[in-house]
Symmetry: C3
Amino acid sequence: MIKIFKLKNIISIKDFERSDIDYILDEASKLEDIAKSKELSDELKGKILGLMFFEPSTRTRMSFETAMKRLDGECIGFENSGSSSVSKGESIADTAKMFEGYSDALVIRHELEGVSKFISDIVDVPVINAGDGAGQHPTQTLLDLYTIKKEIGSIDNLKIALIGDLKFGRTVHSLANALGLYDNVELYFVSPNELKMPQEILHDLDQMKMSYTEVSKIDEIIDKVNILYVTRIQKERFGDINDYIQIKGAYIINEKMLKGKDLIVMHPLPRIDEIDSDVDNTKYNKYFAQAENAVPVRMAILKTLIKNNPK
Amino acid sequence: MIKIFKLKNIISIKDFERSDIDYILDEASKLEDIAKSKELSDELKGKILGLMFFEPSTRTRMSFETAMKRLDGECIGFENSGSSSVSKGESIADTAKMFEGYSDALVIRHELEGVSKFISDIVDVPVINAGDGAGQHPTQTLLDLYTIKKEIGSIDNLKIALIGDLKFGRTVHSLANALGLYDNVELYFVSPNELKMPQEILHDLDQMKMSYTEVSKIDEIIDKVNILYVTRIQKERFGDINDYIQIKGAYIINEKMLKGKDLIVMHPLPRIDEIDSDVDNTKYNKYFAQAENAVPVRMAILKTLIKNNPK
Amino acid sequence: MIKIFKLKNIISIKDFERSDIDYILDEASKLEDIAKSKELSDELKGKILGLMFFEPSTRTRMSFETAMKRLDGECIGFENSGSSSVSKGESIADTAKMFEGYSDALVIRHELEGVSKFISDIVDVPVINAGDGAGQHPTQTLLDLYTIKKEIGSIDNLKIALIGDLKFGRTVHSLANALGLYDNVELYFVSPNELKMPQEILHDLDQMKMSYTEVSKIDEIIDKVNILYVTRIQKERFGDINDYIQIKGAYIINEKMLKGKDLIVMHPLPRIDEIDSDVDNTKYNKYFAQAENAVPVRMAILKTLIKNNPK
């Protein structure tokens, strides 16, 4: 059976079926040696990726660039709209049409939800959403899933705690949605009361008949789970700074609390202090590996979309 | 007969004879498939283009980069002088000498007229003017001419309306000059009184025995012309904002006024609102194609200059 | 005898023995034709250089990029931390770990001394210090030595004047240290009293039994030396601006004072006015050649480190 990947654009993880995700994870796995430059590739020679980063994101941009360049492709683009035509008053649509004319695929980062979708409707080249506001960041979810599969061997039958800001964190929203496609995954949502998982996400999970539990303390779940997926709690989310100071400490992971447990720690990064640096040199630390996995996963996405949709 | 291109630098369209322009347009035409990555090229493998953009210009920079990279070349450079040595007080001459040492050709964008010419006098590598203040932007003119030839079949025997800010728009100045090299071209200059074509350009055209007519309303010429070449009217050009508001509407193109006409609409972009978006999905719209034509035309220029002038 | 280069990181010129320096200079010499794109190379095909420029430096960044790209490698990175994860509060350690995951070698520029060393301790890929505060800039020193050898034929047995700001100039500190590895080099330190060579550097030189003389006027030494190595005197270094104005003129080189002398003039650039532009077109000017030499020297460094330390 020949597998195919049928999506032309990567806008939301909700557009994926399990077979689509598995296709990308399999491809990524095959590209590992090229990602680490142990093997050469000219798979995307002569191809150009247009990076439209209306807001900065070093990590995402760097890993897309590395992914493209390891495949012998090239990048053009801007990071923040200050120096682009947008600052001269050009519409996003016109800017996107320009990039379409120069590129074989587009990567969009914007602070407003829906911008990637909007652009995908008006251009003919594939569009990849690299984060739109509180919306989606589907390639982050794919690399999260890839990391889980690589580190634990399977995504099915896992107990996973999502920790921190579950209200505004698009990363955990997308990840929860995607995990609903796998068998027998149990989720634990660990957050302060102010930052609980939104009702619409819970509603999605109910529809997928997923099992989840909301708790407010890490120690309630740390003995049960295979993965602690940690996210940052931003003080800007609190009306009263004292509320933030009071709860902050309860969501910090350190080596001592992990001792003897059979689990891994993940984080989409950047981290501030929600994972103590004493975890960095332990076997629990999979967040640096996770960041590195961005390269083979984004290579798989770029290769697949550009090869499937020639100009 | 073997054709040659004898210019080493692209500073002003006035340096071109018709045969020089035709040479670039022919080359560009041959490079179309590479521009669209339907075919691979390593014509400029190992070569480096130095981009000195003292003022930002996403569109021009992106298309030069794409042109270079489609030919397997590479780019270095800066966009705006804030982060360059220039901000440490280095002279433009010294900055240019540095770039000369690292590159095979230089592209210069500067807000002051004459900077490209100045740099071309002190470096040995080819220099391309990518816009200097109210001066010239010759590669824009070449891609305008390429678009005309590609869309209409010939540049001779055309009636062309240049619309909008004819006083400060370097694009229309260069284009008018270049059209003087072709046979039997009739120009119509459509602008508010405050923004009429400057006397020195009219003088140039008189010397070339070109036929031109100045009018203030689009409807006076819309039934006569093959091309509406639209440019933006910037409100900053008006001492009194009310003057701007009053005349602005008279220079907006929309689908309704084009209906049934046998013409094309061009624009150097970015546009603000001088072409209504309802024109975008009509046959009249050639401004997106025009933007895309920047790639083969700039490929032709880069290939020709770098091949003709090895270090 | 097969020569090897044993350093994994380029942090300080003090880590080099003479044989290490000679290795890089020999390599650089062999790469000259590729540096000038007279010959093609794919020595670093598929490899990626991570440029972490926490402070801007056009010249250093451009020449590293050119060096990498002439060898068919690619670059990723940022220039100034404003648009990087660092501005979101991420630690330098985490940013470096991220870049390690995406690159085959890192180049670091930071305003604080010791940052490159710190990063080299936590990542596995080779790290190159491209200037850290008042500390070291070892690749500048290597290209200075390369220029001396190329222009004069040998580094031994020379008389060299270091001129200008000897107190804060990391370039002259590194160069003085490196020259201590060569035979029979005599140094002359020419500076205002406020900007004399620091005691610790003099102490280093004493230990290496180097011969040096401190003077305050160029005319005391101009008849004796083979090289005038000029650096900029920044007015910010003076508490009283009048002190600066008074002494400034005494450290400016012009054509008249060079006439009939058998010497060359070097400068790490950018220059402001400490070398009069009338020197530019004389045989004394080796500062533009010196800037161009950055490419083969940095090519030699990149090739050696990346080839010796595969991921």
